[in-house]
């Protein structure tokens, strides 16, 4: 090596590989207003679609009169179920094995349901025409409560009448969808019946909505000359959308190109297939012109993709010393008018069976009953892996309730029940095999950092001061310790509409040593173009700055199942590393040939292959790439490309320890977050800056859900929170600064040990905020109160406990 050769440290830094806080490559276009979102797409002669929606939550559609609308200049078409029926497109399959009306077929089942699709020359004309479509409705009794639905004689889904078998087994009632059971019911009941201590609680995890800042939309363009359909849209899973579009329309898959352009946040909202997508396609086929559909905010909150809405009842048993012996959980799940949950096929309640949490619980039983009501369909994973938010909230509340029952400190109760480091891989009572964890270390670090004992002492003093009338503010210490299950998933048990949940990466190294990699995922703000290039840089020794990452175009990207459930890093990230290793294996053979040594006599060193024991003899990856394209090497094909389809052997199990310190004014019900500490263990860390950003964002969405955000209905099935006036999205004014921390416990089965992080803060954050509110009132006898803890509800809690007397 001469003096001009950069040393190893410098070469490594130049790569901008894994572990560095590389600045994002996406930001140049976003900060200059040059993002390209679906509503930015403008094609020649493009038409605009808009929906006539039902004002009623349950009604028969007696007639639809399009005449006045069609007479309006600029209106091209008005589609109803009757028009779609000959194409068999008036209904569509849902991801949950049910079917959903694309346009109202005889009746409507929720307020805001799509009744007719107006196509016009511009959005104003389309909106005018929507007002001119005359729909005659005959109101039917409305059911918004799932318990009532299971008792009612009113049949919501008349199309399913007489069907006693659903997609997930027997249906017990005409408004019942499925029962999903996991674990050992008899064994659990036996333990509960004979336990020293049993704590029971019923809790409602309210309905909410992911509400990304960009609503859902699509632009369909049918090129009748070439028989090709192009569909741009807000799709978190573009390849699946193409397959579904092909199956629905009969157009062969190679003649459909689906493109997810820049996506303005997803959080689960953009996983499903919505009537608007289907109608834009049909309208383009009918009119021969491109058709754009973009929903407005009210339509977004009313009709696409609610989350949660789980009524949960739990029983947890323990010894007097606090060792948990069993857990029983029953859920009544309100799925709305159609079962459109976005879960892997075999999991109608998602991964709710992770509800034993981070604790070594010997026996458990879970049963979930899905129920139809007159509410919007959806049931998506809002910033979480499938139903994991519900599961973690359930167990983290049950732990608090058990601590009250035992008169024990909730932190200590967690500590004595954690799965121990040496127990991993750990098979939980409900079947999952946790890959790795070190919960005690994380917990101790968290409690020490926040001075947990000091906080409890301060809290006790505050209670006394309150009782003496010296303050009107109580103090809550919210705890949560969560284990997520992400990275769906192994093809053997995870599929969506029959497609195994692998993911993919395809890499092409250019002759001059730069590269392009394409993946089956799609970023919605997570920064894939930045982080996947970092994984690759470390694997193949080419600087991340010389690697382009592309996603979201089904004509060019390899097939993959998309981005949701924190699956991109665990699955596509693994595919990226594996494809990179294939490149490296070929590069090794080329290097050995160029250096005139045996393949085994060279080894990879940051950005080059060196002859073992003679580091001055080397070929850089740039030199190797060039040789791959310009030199005839015996026994080796020209070029340097690789593709990997990665079927993960297991899920990954990120975890974390969160603490929230809150002051609550009992007279106004206003909570003030004094401190929020979040320790996340997501395994190997690819880009600390991006991880921290994900944690801030997830915690803020958790704050929203815990402290006020909900989709509420009145008894008539009217959505009461359909605008941002009523639906709580926190602003900079309401959000605190967060302290982030970490431990690193790599996943043993993932090629780079990474576990995924995007959703952890939401999953762990919701119970932490909620526990903080409830902990403030523990000294005054509060056991449990439901979220969202808005000011009014907190005031009511204080009032109910006699604190205003």
């Amino acid at each position: 090596m001469n003096d001009m050769t950069p040393d190893r440290e410098e070469r490594s830094a130049n790569l901008k590989g894994m572990g560095c806080s590389r600045k994002r490559v996406e930001d140049a276009r976003f900060t200059q207003g040059k993002g390209n979102y679906v509503d930015d797409i403008k094609l020649p002669d493009m038409l605009h679609g808009d929906f006539v929606r039902s004002p009623y939550a349950h009604a028969r559609v007696v007639s639809v009169n399009k005449e006045a609308a069609l007479a309006l200049p600029g209106v091209v078409a008005v589609l109803t179920a009757e028009d779609l029926a000959p194409l068999n497109l008036h209904w569509m399959p849902t991801l949950a094995g049910d079917k959903q009306m694309v346009l109202a077929d005889g009746k409507v089942l929720f307020q805001g349901q799509e009744v007719a699709f107006v196509v016009a020359s511009d959005r104003y004309v389309a909106a005018d025409a929507v007002e001119l479509v005359e729909v005659e409705y005959e109101e039917l009794p409305v059911i918004t409560d799932p318990f009532e639905a299971l008792k009612s004689e009113v049949v919501l889904r008349e199309d399913l009448e007489g069907q006693t078998e659903g997609a997930h087994g027997p249906r017990k009632h005409h408004n019942h969808i499925f029962t999903w059971e996991q674990g050992d019911e008899a064994g659990t009941n036996q333990v509960l019946d004979n336990a020293e201590v049993v704590a029971e609680e019923t809790m409602y995890y309210h309905r909410t909505h992911p509400c990304p800042l960009e609503t859902c939309g699509s632009v369909a363009s049918m090129d009748k000359v070439n028989g090709k359909l192009t569909l741009w849209g807000t799709f978190q899973a573009p390849h699946v959308v193409r397959t579904v579009a092909s199956l629905l329309s009969g157009i062969e898959e190679h003649n459909i190109r689906v493109v997810s352009p820049d996506i303005g946040g997803g959080f689960g909202n953009k996983v499903g297939v919505y009537p608007g997508y289907v109608c834009s396609i049909v309208a383009s086929i009918v009119t021969g012109k491109p058709v754009k559909w973009v929903e407005d905010r009210m339509e977004n909150l009313m009709s696409t993709a609610f989350a949660r809405d789980y009524h949960m009842t739990g029983k947890i048993s323990a010894t007097k010393e606090g060792k948990i012996t069993g857990l029983h959980c029953h859920v009544t799940a309100d799925h709305g008018g159609f079962d459109a949950c976005a879960d892997p096929t075999k999991f109608p309640a998602g991964f709710m069976n992770i509800c034993t949490g981070s604790y070594d619980i010997p026996v458990a039983y879970l049963a979930v009953d899905g129920v139809y009501t007159n509410k919007a369909p959806g049931g998506v994973s809002y910033r979480c892996s499938f139903r994991v938010t519900e599961a973690v909230y359930f167990i983290e509340r049950m732990i608090e309730v058990l601590a009250i029952e035992l008169d024990m400190d909730a932190a200590e109760l967690r500590r004595i029940n954690f799965i121990k480091k040496e127990q991993f891989p750990y098979t939980a009572a409900l079947g999952w095999e946790y890959d790795s964890g070190d919960y005690h270390t994380a917990w101790d670090k968290a409690l020490e950092t926040v001075d947990y004992e000091g906080l409890r002492a301060e809290q006790a003093e505050r209670v006394e001061a309150f009782k003496r009338g010296e303050t009107r503010k109580l103090m809550g210490v919210g705890l949560s310790f969560f284990t997520e299950i992400v990275g769906a998933g192994p093809v053997k048990n995870c599929d969506i509409l029959g497609m195994g949940m692998f993911d993919s990466c395809e890499i092409r190294i250019h002759p001059t040593g730069s590269a392009i990699a394409r993946l089956g995922t799609i970023s919605q703000g997570q920064g894939h173009a930045t982080t996947f290039a970092q994984i690759l840089a470390s694997e193949i020794g080419i600087s991340a700055d010389s690697i382009t990452i592309e996603e979201g175009d089904t004509d060019t990207a390899p097939y993959g199942l998309g981005t949701y459930g924190s699956r991109s890093t665990p699955v596509a990230g693994a595919a990226t590393a594996m494809a990179g290793r294939k490149i490296r294996a070929k590069a090794q053979m080329i290097a050995a040939y160029l250096l005139e040594v045996h393949d085994d006599d060279v080894e990879f060193d940051i950005d080059r292959f060196v002859v073992k024991g003679a580091p001055e003899r080397f070929k850089t990856m740039k030199e190797i790439a060039y040789a791959a394209y310009n030199q005839a090497i015996p026994g080796i094909e020209p070029g340097l490309e690789a593709v990997s389809y990665y079927d993960p052997p297991n899920m990954t199990y990120p975890f974390g320890a969160y603490v929230c310190v809150m002051d609550i004014d009992v007279d106004t019900g206003v909570p003030e977050i004094r401190r929020f500490y979040a320790l996340d263990d997501c395994g190997t860390r690819i880009n600390p800056m991006i991880i921290e950003g994900q944690v801030h964002g997830g915690l803020t969405e958790a704050l929203a859900v815990a402290l006020g955000q909900e989709i509420a209905y009145d008894d008539m099935g009217n959505v009461k929170t359909g605008t941002l006036m009523d639906f709580f999205l926190p602003t900079a004014w309401e959000v605190p600064n967060y302290e982030t921390d970490y431990t690193v416990t790599p996943s043993p089965h993932h090629p780079i040990g990474a576990k995924g992080v995007g959703e952890s803060p939401h999953v762990g954050g919701v119970p932490c905020f909620s526990n903080a509110v409830q902990d403030a009132f523990r000294a005054f006898g509060l056991r449990h109160t439901n979220m969202p803890h808005d000011h009014w509800r907190i005031w009511q809690t204080a009032n109910g406990l006699g604190l205003h007397d």
Binding site: R24, F30, D262, G697, T723, L724, T731, Y738
Partner: protein, 164 residues
């Protein structure tokens, strides 16, 4: 449909003339008539601020203003802030401090922040949080947005001092 009006605007320094229905919202005139797609539509109720532009020196949510009301106005959008090879300090700062993720709120956020720093060149963190409360971000939790704006403020002030 009503008669169209003759609208004149100065947008990012360029004179624009076009016909529009008086009921057309400013955001749609910008996005669809003038192809200025930086400002976005997030709510159409002036809550989210994704459509924020600067109009005659004030931050305005262009989704709740008729283009007719804006007739004759001077407007700056994100497209008029910085050049690709000479970015505005705020654009640099948002990148440096990871003040954006999906990018949908970013044009409105940066446009508003330019005004905020003109109105108050030395804001405290609390003043930044209050001054930005009309712009919603669903991704970042605001912490890094606040950091980006405070850092840009120091940088602008340091540059001013150096110039004096």
């Amino acid at each position: 449909m009503t008669d169209k009006m003759h609208i004149k605007l100065k947008v990012n320094g360029e004179d624009k003339e076009f016909l529009a229905e008086p009921r057309e919202l400013l955001i749609y005139a910008l996005r669809e008539k003038l192809n200025i797609t930086g400002p976005h539509v997030g709510c159409e109720t002036s809550h989210c601020g994704a459509c924020t532009v600067t109009l005659d020196g004030k931050s305005v949510k262009s989704c709740t203003m008729f283009v007719a009301q804006a007739n004759g106005a001077e407007i700056t959008t994100i497209e008029g802030i910085g050049e690709p090879d000479a970015l505005h300090v705020l654009q640099e700062s948002f990148r440096e401090h990871h003040g954006l993720q999906c990018g949908f709120c970013t044009p409105g956020m940066i446009t508003r922040a330019t005004k905020l720093l003109e109105e108050n060149p030395n804001p405290t963190e609390e003043e930044v949080r209050f001054g930005m409360a009309g712009n919603i971000c669903r991704c970042t939790g605001y912490q890094n947005i606040v950091k980006s704006i405070l850092s840009a403020a120091s940088e602008i002030n340091a540059a001013k001092e150096a110039a004096q």
